[in-house]
Each structure stands twice: as structure tokens, then as C-alpha cells.
């Protein structure tokens, strides 16, 4: 079954921009070779919420792609990044695109003071 995936990769923020771009391009080519690659979003450099392996900043990249779920792409990506020191964190998940059905917004009934006073 074909499924939509998304993958977030955090590269080491202390590396020069060129190296990060090279690393990102390498992963992009890996995805192009193994999956139906869609696009990549660069979020830019961000400070991490906590220190990971003495690193305080990270360059975030979001990759969108499709693949057959039987091919275990997540495992392949794990192997691809296993010995790469430039990668701080990476996470691959099935893309969640919930269908949002149009509903009437629930507006709370306004508090009627007069009726309450009558009761008391």
C-alpha cells in the first residue's frame, strides 16, 4: 500500500552552511533513488530546546515523500544516518492528513443572569 511519509532531519547547527547543504542534498538523492520524492522544506537554524551531544543549535529540514509501506523506508533511513555525525536527530512518520468535516461551530449559550436570579 502506498503511503505518504514525512521526515524531519536536524543537522548540526555549528557546521558551515555549505556542509549542511551537501548533507541535505545527499539525503535528498537517497530519497529520490528509493522513493517518490515530493519536496523539501528548509526551516533554517534553530536553537534546540535542550542540549543534545553538546550541541545547542540545529538546522531543520523537512522532507515529504511517498512510498510502498512494505518496503520499510524508515529502517533504511535509520541505516543511512547511522554513522553520520552531522545528524543530531531524525524522525520519519506517516503523514497525518485528517479529513476535517465542516461542522457548525459550537457557540456556548450565553449566561443568562436574569433566569439564574429567579431560581435563587
Amino acid at each position: 500500500m502506498k503511503q505518504k511519509y514525512e521526515s524531519i532531519v536536524i543537522f548540526d547547527g555549528s557546521l558551515p552552511d555549505e556542509t549542511v547543504q551537501k548533507q541535505s542534498a545527499a539525503f535528498e538523492e537517497f530519497l529520490k533513488a528509493n522513493t517518490e520524492f515530493e519536496r523539501v522544506d528548509a526551516w533554517g537554524k534553530k536553537s534546540l530546546a535542550y542540549v543534545i551531544n553538546k550541541k545547542r543549535t540545529g538546522a531543520y529540514f523537512l522532507y515529504l515523500f511517498q512510498d510502498q509501506s512494505e518496503k520499510n523506508i524508515s529502517g533504511k533511513i535509520d541505516k543511512f544516518f547511522q554513522l553520520n555525525d552531522a545528524v543530531v536527530r531524525h524522525l520519519t512518520v506517516v503523514r497525518e492528513e485528517h479529513k476535517i468535516i465542516e461542522r457548525k461551530p459550537r457557540i456556548p449559550v450565553p449566561f443568562d443572569e436574569t433566569s439564574d436570579r429567579e431560581d435563587n
Binding site: I8, I10, L48, A49, Y50, I52, G58, Y60, L62, V88, R89, L91, V93, E96, H98, I100, E102, R103, P105, R106, P108, V109, P110, F111, D112, S115, D116, D119, N120
Partner: protein
């Protein structure tokens, strides 16, 4: 007291109101539902419905792993 009219106190799920779903990439929204210490706010306080609280918990845990939000606040650690 007539409880039917006392609906001012009733909390409505934020995600239902805004027709959105919890997303781990949406840092600003997720930060609304964690405490200063970084804990997940219980739904009896935030008013989030059961369905969205489950999805929100998963989203928060993913965001924590990606260092978008802290596991524990910096000043407490």
C-alpha cells in the same frame, strides 16, 4: 440553580473550535498545552476533547524528541 443556563463554565475543545488537528511541527499551538515545567496539561483543565487530547499527547512527545519543546524546563533541570 438552573444548570441549563450555566453554560458559561463549559469548556470547548480548542481544536474543535478552530477546525485544526494537533501537529508536532506547530510549535506555537503545542506550547499552549504544556505547563511552564514542560508537562502536558490535563484535559480537565485545558478543556480539550478526548480525541484531540490523545493526538496532542503524541504530537507533544514527537516535538520533545525533535527538541522543539523541552522535556523539562531549563531552570528546573
Amino acid at each position: 440553580m438552573n444548570r441549563r443556563y450555566n453554560s458559561k463554565l463549559k469548556k470547548v475543545c480548542w481544536f474543535d473550535q478552530n477546525f485544526t488537528e494537533p501537529d508536532y511541527k506547530d510549535q506555537k499551538v503545542i506550547e499552549r498545552f504544556i505547563t511552564e515545567r514542560g508537562k502536558i496539561v490535563p484535559r480537565r483543565i485545558s478543556g480539550v476533547c478526548s480525541k484531540h487530547q490523545k493526538r496532542l499527547a503524541v504530537a507533544i512527545k514527537r516535538a520533545r524528541y525533535l527538541a522543539l519543546i523541552p522535556f523539562v524546563a531549563e531552570n528546573i533541570r
